[in-house]
Assembly symmetry: C2
Homo-oligomer: 134 residues x 2
Amino acid sequence: MNNIEFATAIHILTLLKIIGGHLPSSYIAGSININAVMVRRSLSLLRKHGFIETREGNGGGAALAKPASQVLLSDVYRAVNDAALLGKLNKPNPDCKVGKQINNHLAELYKQADNALVNKLSTITLADFCKKFK
Amino acid sequence: MNNIEFATAIHILTLLKIIGGHLPSSYIAGSININAVMVRRSLSLLRKHGFIETREGNGGGAALAKPASQVLLSDVYRAVNDAALLGKLNKPNPDCKVGKQINNHLAELYKQADNALVNKLSTITLADFCKKFK
DNA sequence: CCGTACTGTAACAAAAAATGATACAGTATA
DNA sequence: TATACTGTATCATTTTTTGTTACAGTACGG
């Protein structure tokens, strides 16, 4: 995984909520201060997961596909992190007693830790998050 | 942060508990299947945080500095992740209403999420983790 | 129905981060 | 004193991330 994706996704969704309307990727890129193609890559992911809808052509851009109050931050996290956050594993020596078993045990541990994090994020909606902006 | 560090650190500590004694970095490297210098870099970190003690010279190596039952996985996580897991931020445009504020709000969010994860890990000791190995 | 302003995505380049390799001084043991 | 380690620096390599360019496709507005 790549955890700046989460920051980028939240930034995009926050913009769509606060600025409103259909925003072009170039506008979004200017706010985040990253490349417009990177934005379109994020948008593509967010669209696949149903958070936004996009319009091609003149006057097009991205907009929220559902009310911010119905977007859980945990859903965004899940969409963006294909693997769990604490997800990397080594490729240990299978001839070692510990090496042979550890990836299974670590994977289980990661799942528990990830669940705890997701549970916390599931208590916060995009609308909650956006309320912080003055 | 770099989340394979956590897997590596847990692997090392597990080995020290299960195999016992003073293990040289070359032995540990063989189990994890990574470079011995990488192992020594991890060992250095673990030593600084008081999890292990190391001995130089012939017959030297690393050993646990305290009972596995007194090592919380949350402490290992904290030691290894200087920043929070969900820690990366963009460098948004300060001339944008959202860009100007978002990093503060994200940092707060990250802290909450990280706390949830750490709380979960604090319920598991190294001894608990090692019990899973047969 | 044409100019304009977008998306979507591929292909490649550049930059950054992680990992590995080599080297070597220092240290403890037998 | 030979041997087997640590600790750490430096440099090389690999992998991952980010940016750039390009361009076909789409839709709106005059």
